[in-house]
């Protein structure tokens, strides 16, 4: 036991010395605006607690592996947190202990993390915020996000077009958040223009297969004539399909998920489920793009555009191949 402790203490000391040396070197080479010889990039993301965040963690580590190999003078530290307070603590550690000069952060909550990120920025850390914007945009240098409006708009337009403006829809919602509201408003906003399309109801199923199963069972009990289920998430679509299968309902023609998970894209590619025809992309790969863009810009001493929205696209059988990443867990 004590031997291990001694060893690890030595390791920590060693690492500390090495780090101090690098920092001294980095500081010696001057200001922030110049092309840096070494870039220390911190990545702060939510821990893998469901399919989507699992994908986030996988893509972040993928980016670290590829970029560190391509740029020997780039050091990426990936930290995962399971809540906003833990993320704030890790952020402090990244700034004071790891001494990062650039940060890519996927905040748990907008409000709770604005102040911690602002503190980091005051210490000359270049900040790229991903997915959820901060309440004070001056705390970020760049903002990269998926397109939540399109996430709701694309399925709505798709349904309106394919059902000739006439359909009965039931919808699932995620967890009550601004993100979910944006998608919901975009979805309902488009369908308002079609008087013959009825959204029978929308209930929360927490982006979770089990809850989606239960909510769908109850929708099926309640509504006898449904054309389309907007599951609004591929995980939830999975529970929806099971519930429809159990009830042996034949009126439902389509289940529309969301996010473009591996299994869903494969299903579209193979045409293996008669209820699945299309999906909308909202890939966790955007964390990979954000890390890559930030690292490469920083190595060159460039800046990123203030806002960069990664477009969401309609995935159909024709283009599904471009969205299929068999190695990703999501």
């Amino acid at each position: 036991m004590s031997e291990v402790a001694r060893y690890s203490r030595r390791l920590v000391l060693g690492a500390g010395v090495a780090m101090a040396a690098t920092v001294a070197l980095g500081a010696g080479l001057g200001g922030v605006a110049f092309a840096a010889d070494t870039v220390k990039l911190g990545v702060s993301i939510p821990a893998a607690t469901h399919g989507f965040t699992g994908g986030i963690v996988w893509w972040a580590n993928q980016a670290k592996a590829e970029l560190e190999k391509a740029h020997p003078n780039l050091k990426i530290t990936v930290k995962t947190a399971s809540g906003a307070p833990e993320q704030a603590n890790q952020l402090q550690d990244l700034v004071t202990v790891t001494k990062i000069d650039s940060l890519v952060i996927f905040p748990f909550e907008s409000a709770a993390l604005t102040q911690p990120v602002l503190q980091a920025k005051k210490k000359n850390v270049y900040v790229t915020v991903v997915d959820r914007g901060l309440t004070d945009p001056s705390a970020q240098d760049a903002y990269i996000a998926g397109d939540n409006t399109a996430f709701g708009r694309i399925p709505a337009e798709y349904i309106a077009k394919n059902y000739n403006g006439k359909a009965n829809i039931v919808a699932l919602r995620g967890i009550p958040t601004t993100l979910d509201n944006e998608r919901w408003e975009a979805f309902t906003g488009v369908l308002k223009q079609y008087p013959d399309i009825k959204i029978l109801d929308g209930k929360y199923a927490n982006w979770n297969r089990d809850d989606a199963f239960k909510v769908t069972q109850d929708f099926l009990t309640r509504f006898k004539d449904i054309d389309v289920v907007w599951a609004a998430d591929d995980d939830m679509a999975f529970g929806v399909l099971k519930a429809i299968e159990q009830a042996k309902r034949t009126d439902i023609k389509e289940v529309f998920g969301g996010a473009g998970s591996k299994t869903m894209v494969k299903t579209i590619l193979d045409g293996s489920n008669p209820l699945i025809h299309a999906d909308v992309s909202y890939s966790p790969k955007f964390i990979y793009d954000a890390i890559k863009m930030t690292a490469e810009a920083r190595l060159k001493g460039d800046k990123l555009p203030a806002t960069y929205i990664i477009p969401s696209a309609l995935i159909t059988k024709e283009n599904a191949k471009e969205f299929y990443f068999p190695d990703s867990p999501y």
């Binding site: 469901h50 009550p176 929360y204 089990d210 239960k214 069972q217 109850d218 159990q246």
Partner: protein, 341 residues
């Protein structure tokens, strides 16, 4: 869909059968609080949406209650003995993940999918029992508070599952899904298999609690551990067994859960511990231990899922307020069954 109509009181009759297993003590109106609450909810549900009182909907609700219900029965023993287990949801998730991985691995070497599924089920029960006994051992021999032991394993079980699943989902092979499916989706005499299992576990639990020496020891330990010790009850052994029993219950619940979606993910069994504990307490078991009711627990579990079922079948209340409605009903029912000081 409309294949039956007059089944609104089904859960009541079912729970009534269970309660006949209890010795008749003096009449106490508060004992019937949960039943009254449930009956009121059934009336409200039927009034709000006629589809509520259909046989299919009732069976849906009872089937989805089966997981929490079975776990609650094990939990009832642990709480009566003065303990608690916070880890059941995570445990169910880990057992689900473990058994799926095992079955997928066996599918290659063992020919018959039925045998593979049977082995998987056996593994789930053993794993559950093992986890439960480990809790019991840490609580009795390790002298650690059950709250802390199971709070620790709550984190451990879920983290291990998340790690095994790589943050995504562990999915059962298609061939096995077909062989395993009937365990959740099949039915006997028009009643789904999970409901039968729930019924059997409830009756067994009621008999064990009220008609055996073990049941009396559990209640004695919960009301006064020192006195039980002086009365030559092997307190440690009985406590160890209550945790083991709960573990097996979690195993049974998982065996029923896995064929539903054929997958385990980090959201599997999320907050089941709170639902199970709530079902036990709403059903009239004392949180301090010593006294408890299996029939009440069953009704408590059914009541909790009926609330969310009613909320899903109507849209008179904003979805943002769903949790508030649930909270109000739980508190109201607990008030109905309050005991005198």
């Amino acid at each position: 869909m409309p294949s039956g109509q007059t089944s609104a009181p089904t859960p009541v009759t079912e729970a009534g059968t269970v309660s006949t297993g209890k010795p008749a003590r003096r009449f106490d109106p508060h004992r019937f609080g949960p039943v009254v609450g449930l009956v009121l909810l059934l009336i409200v549900g039927t009034a709000l949406n006629p589809d509520f009182a259909t046989w299919d909907n009732m069976m849906n609700v009872l089937t989805r209650t089966a997981f929490i219900g079975i776990i609650s029965i094990g939990m009832c023993f642990v709480i009566i003995s003065g303990g608690i287990d916070l880890s059941v949801g995570s445990m169910a998730a880990l057992i689900a993940g473990g058994m799926i991985l095992l079955m997928n691995a066996l599918a290659g070497s063992v020919g018959s999918p039925v045998v593979v599924v049977a082995l998987g089920m056996l593994f789930a029960l053993l794993l559950g029992g093992g986890f439960g006994l480990a809790h019991g051992y840490l609580v009795t021999r390790g002298r650690i508070e059950p709250f802390i032991v199971t709070l620790g394993t709550l984190g451990i079980f879920r983290a291990v599952l998340t790690w095994l699943a790589d943050g995504g989902a562990i999915t059962l092979d298609n061939g096995l899904s077909d062989a395993y499916g009937p365990v959740y989706y099949g039915s006997l005499l028009g009643i789904p298999v999970p409901v039968w299992v729930f019924l059997v576990v409830s009756v067994a639990g009621a008999v064990l609690l009220n008609r055996t020496a073990f049941g009396r020891y559990v209640q004695a330990i919960g009301s006064n551990e020192q006195v039980a010790r002086f009365a030559a009850v092997d307190v440690d052994r009985v406590k160890l067994l209550t945790y083991g029993l709960l573990g097996v219950c979690v195993g049974i619940a998982t065996v029923l859960y896995v064929p539903r979606l054929g997958s385990a993910s980090p959201t599997t069994g999320l907050l089941w511990e709170l639902e199970a504990i709530a079902a036990v307490i709403v059903g009239g078991t004392s949180f301090k231990g010593g006294e408890g009711r299996i029939a009440g627990t069953v009704i408590g579990a059914v009541l909790l899922s009926v609330i969310s079922n009613i909320l899903n079948l109507t849209s008179i209340i904003s979805v943002y307020l769903n949790a508030a409605v649930q909270g109000c009903v739980i508190i109201a029912v607990a008030f109905l069954q309050r005991r005198r000081p």
